[in-house]
């Protein structure tokens, strides 16, 4: 069962790669829908594409069909990307379930399992967002890229064989605290994707044409990216707050104090403060939206620091990473 879980993770990574390629192809083929939908600019676009497709500019009908075909292809690639993401998410879930069955406990006992679960929450939430707002599909390129990177890091660097929990983790608070931390982290992870997307897209919309901004050429509009960023963070923040409180209740029972500035606790505090800063900045009209969004990105960096930095560089009471 353990080996099956490991294989499923590998397959999930492959599926994420396929999804990423699908989204990348759609990205490369261009923003098909706007080409078709916007009736007036068709002629212009044909003119621009004239060098590639040898169509006389005086005959817009066949070239419109060509644009149409290209649009359909791009859309197909994007849908393949979405489909592959869904398949990857299912494989990912199966990997977690088999890992949990093999270990006979919730699969959150070490860093490998933690990252695997956080990324799963991230992708599952992404599919929900996509279902509600299909127009955000093109963000999938960045999301699948993040997935490939994180899940592959988990597989290659963080992997540890299954062991039972240490006595300190053997408590029902383990399920409450870790599940909510994992859930909130997954949503924050997903939230960081539109946040970065917004920062690039916002720059692009303001006329910046240098390197990172040009990547955002085909992203959804800055306003909708920003809204999504806020919605995800506003959703995750109370869960994260609850998770930290649950951790404090557990720490009181296990270590004799609710809060002791253990490195992991300190960084959770830092993340909480930064995300609280983001929500305040977002709610203040005088603070520019891109300044606020930078705070969200910073918040995610502190989450990453708490996961990787604290587990690897610091020793503390939360040393369950499993890496030696």
């Amino acid at each position: 069962m353990s080996a099956l879980s490991d294989n499923l993770v590998t397959f999930a990574i492959l599926a994420y790669l396929i999804a990423m390629i699908g989204h990348a192809v759609e990205y490369a083929l261009g923003n098909a829908r706007t080409r078709v939908a916007a009736a007036a600019p068709v002629r212009e676009l044909v003119g621009a594409g004239g060098g590639v497709v040898p169509t006389p500019p005086s005959a817009p009908v066949p070239s419109s069909a060509a644009a149409d075909r290209s649009a359909r292809r791009a859309r197909l690639a994007g849908l393949i990307g979405v489909g592959a993401t869904a398949v990857a998410a299912l494989l990912h879930l199966a990997a977690l379930v088999t890992r949990g069955l093999a270990a006979d406990r919730m699969p959150w006992g070490n860093m490998y399992e933690f990252v695997l679960t956080v990324t799963f929450i991230g992708v599952a939430a992404w599919l929900v967002v996509l279902w509600k707002r299909p127009s955000l599909r093109k963000l999938g390129l960045f999301l699948t890229l993040v997935m490939v990177l994180l899940v592959a890091t988990a597989e290659l660097v963080l992997y540890v064989p299954i062991v039972p929990l240490v006595p300190a983790l053997n408590s029902y608070w383990f399920v409450i605290h870790v599940s909510t931390i994992v859930f909130a982290s997954g949503i924050f992870l997903l939230g960081a994707v539109p946040a970065v997307g917004f920062l690039m897209r916002n720059g692009y919309e303001q006329g910046k044409r240098s390197f990172p901004y040009t990547l955002a050429k085909r992203l959804p509009g800055a306003v909708s990216l920003e809204r999504l960023t806020f919605a995800l963070h506003a959703f995750a923040f109370p869960i994260f707050t609850f998770a930290v409180i649950a951790g404090a209740i557990w720490a009181e029972a296990a270590w004799g104090r609710p809060w002791g500035w253990d490195p992991k606790e300190t960084w959770a505090f830092i993340s909480w403060v930064v995300y609280a800063g983001y929500l305040h900045a977002r709610a203040t009209p005088s603070v520019k939206r891109n300044v606020a969004t930078w705070l969200a990105v910073l918040g995610f960096l502190t989450m990453l620091m708490n996961l990787f930095g604290v587990n690897i560089f610091f020793t503390g009471l939360h040393s369950y990473g499993g890496l030696d």
């Binding site: 707002r133 127009s135 062991v163 039972p164 240490v166 006595p167 300190a168 053997n170 408590s171 608070w173 959804p220 509009g221 306003v223 909708s224 809204r227 806020f230 506003a234 923040f237 109370p238 707050t241 609850f242 409180i245 404090a248 209740i249 557990w250 009181e252 029972a253 296990a254 270590w255 004799g256 104090r257 609710p258 809060w259 002791g260 500035w261 253990d262 490195p263 300190t266 960084w267 505090f269 830092i270 403060v273 930064v274 609280a276 800063g277 929500l279 305040h280 900045a281 709610a283 203040t284 009209p285 005088s286 603070v287 502190t302 604290v310 610091f314 503390g316």
Partner: protein, 547 residues
């Protein structure tokens, strides 16, 4: 920390004869401090200031690591120490940041609390003259019943409604501000709870070796280290005694611990003697005090028989060195060894001490320095014997776990020999005296605490969470309806043909307001036609934003 404020500025430019500069400065500073901008900067500073607390070792968490740091970085450590870098969370600058932040917070929420109470007690404001200027606006045929019927629909949907003649004003979503204020007030309560805990709480750590002779009573003197809050007196500690009867531990084949349980006999407080079990994650609650199991180890029982034939037994705990196999180090000191029983004459230079490494599962061959498994599969005690003046009589406080190395360096204590002892083995020293390894006792590391701030802290956190959700998901918005007679030029000004002008104003960022407004209009109208009409124009706006 005002989010949206459409109140007119109440600061009237009252002409003053002589503006007091100091007052003006104070007022401006206060305004600066309570502004959102300052609060955000302070929040950010708080996050940055917490970083050194995780990077540098902290006295409150691991004092031994702070000492190590002093040894490793002799230049930097004293300088860092001067600025409080080893006690970040109690340092002046960290406290300054959070106290300023909380002052800013209080300065911000107090007027908001006042305004909110006023808003809760006041009626929704009158409809604006030109409703077309509101973010949501539509005109629909008046429903039968006019303003009263509209008010009824709104009340059913739990709006706060005010009817003024032909006008209906309604407001909803006070929960947002209520939650907001609750959240921020709870934060202050959290801070107060923590302060309560540190003022009125106490805690102590100690090792407890199994056996009746080693029982422990809760007094200040019996703790290796104790911290009493400024408001706590030694006499305030609750009276109880603990005796460790049994300690069980189970390990995986890899040596990873799987299960711990300590069985103790408890005497008091206010209860008869009884037996109790506790373990990691389930502390022993004794009235005001809680006993936490932090660690465990072995205390080798060593009997030394001196040249007069007097035997003494030491069962000092040996401290674990942090490896999986519970390799432990410690000291068995016999300062009263070789005292002539006939004369009672002390022999300060004939005192005995044994430093040792205890291996619960010793390897098959040398070197015998590292245990292979945490349970006693092949127990062995590697002892080094010392004879001489241990320096314990000098009154200089020293560790009970380590031999005073100053005495060794000064040549006052001499090494006599080294030997690996199995359980039950006896070692005859050069002077004919013997040392015997009788076995081991288990010991546990306990933390005993009382935190009166814990319960208020938990309650504050509960309110904090409720308030947070209210503030994030509540949405304050207003709608207005005005029944206007239809233009007499177009038709007869009868009741049935009059129109209703409706407007909506979300008071915070609320993308779904257009939908809600449209639904409301449909409900007022009693049919779907108006709703569809309002929909198409309003939703288009939303789509534009969403795409």
């Amino acid at each position: 920390m005002t989010v949206v404020d459409d109140r007119p500025e109440t600061v009237a430019p009252a002409p003053r004869r002589r503006p007091n500069r100091l007052l003006a400065l104070l007022r401006n500073s206060w305004r600066q401090l309570t502004s959102m901008r300052t609060a955000l900067i302070l929040l950010f500073l708080l996050a940055v200031a917490a970083i050194p607390g995780s990077v540098l070792p902290q006295r409150g968490i691991s004092p031994e690591k702070v000492n190590e740091y002093f040894v490793d970085h002799p230049d930097w450590a004293p300088r860092l120490d001067r600025i409080g870098a080893f006690e970040v969370f109690g340092s002046v600058w960290f406290s300054a940041i959070y106290l300023l932040l909380f002052t800013s917070l209080i300065g911000c929420i107090t007027p908001r609390l006042r305004d909110h109470i006023r808003a809760l007690r006041s009626r929704p404001p009158a409809a604006p003259k030109r409703m077309a200027r509101l973010p949501q606006h539509t005109v629909l045929p008046a429903p039968p019943g006019g303003a009263v019927a509209i008010a009824e629909v709104l009340r059913k949907r739990r709006w706060r409604v005010e009817v003024r003649g032909d006008e209906v004003s309604a407001e909803k979503g006070y929960l947002k501000e209520t939650g907001n204020l609750l959240f921020h007030t709870s934060l202050i309560a959290v801070l107060i709870s923590v302060a309560l805990g540190s003022w009125y709480g106490w805690s102590g750590n100690r090792l407890l070796v199994a056996g009746a002779d080693n029982s422990f009573c809760n007094t200040r003197q019996q703790y290796a280290e104790a911290k009493l809050g400024p408001q706590v007196d030694s006499a305030d500690l609750p009276r109880f005694c603990l005796r460790l009867d049994d300690f069980q531990a189970r390990f995986l084949p890899s040596g990873q611990p799987e299960f711990f349980n300590a069985t103790v006999t408890v005497d008091g407080p206010d209860e008869p003697t009884r037996s109790a079990d506790f373990s990691v994650n389930s502390p022993l609650r004794l009235g005001d005090a809680s006993v936490y199991l932090l660690g465990h180890g072995y205390a080798p029982v060593i009997r030394y028989t001196d040249r007069f034939g007097n035997s003494q037994v030491s069962d000092e705990p040996f401290l674990t060195t942090g490896d999986m196999g519970l390799t432990s180090e410690g000291l068995a000191a016999f300062p009263d060894a070789n005292v002539d029983p006939a004369t009672g004459q002390r022999a300060p230079n004939e005192q005995m001490a044994f430093t040792g490494i205890y291996l619960p599962t010793a390897p098959e061959q040398a070197p015998f320095v590292r245990s292979e498994y945490p349970t006693e599969r092949n127990p062995a005690l590697n002892l080094v014997a010392y004879r001489g003046n241990l320096g314990l009589d000098a009154g200089i406080p020293g560790s009970v776990y380590q031999l005073d190395q100053r005495q060794v360096r000064a040549g006052k204590v001499q090494e006599v020999g080294t030997k690996l002892l199995r359980k039950g083995e006896t070692w005859k020293l050069d002077d004919g005296t013997t040392v015997e390894f009788l076995g081991t006792e288990r010991y546990v590391t306990l933390s005993i605490r009382h935190d009166p701030g814990a319960t208020p802290l938990l309650i504050s956190c509960g309110f904090l969470l409720v308030g947070l959700m209210g503030s994030l998901f509540g949405r304050r918005r207003r709608v207005f309806f005005r029944v206007v007679p239809a233009d007499p030029a177009e038709g007869s000004p009868t009741d049935g043909s009059s129109l209703v002008e409706a407007g909506g104003l979300p008071r915070a960022d609320y993308p779904g307001f257009a939908d809600e407004f449209a639904q409301l209009i449909a409900a007022v109208n009693g049919d779907e036609r108006a709703s569809a009409g309002a929909d198409s124009s309003d939703r288009a706006g939303v789509r534009e934003g969403a795409e």
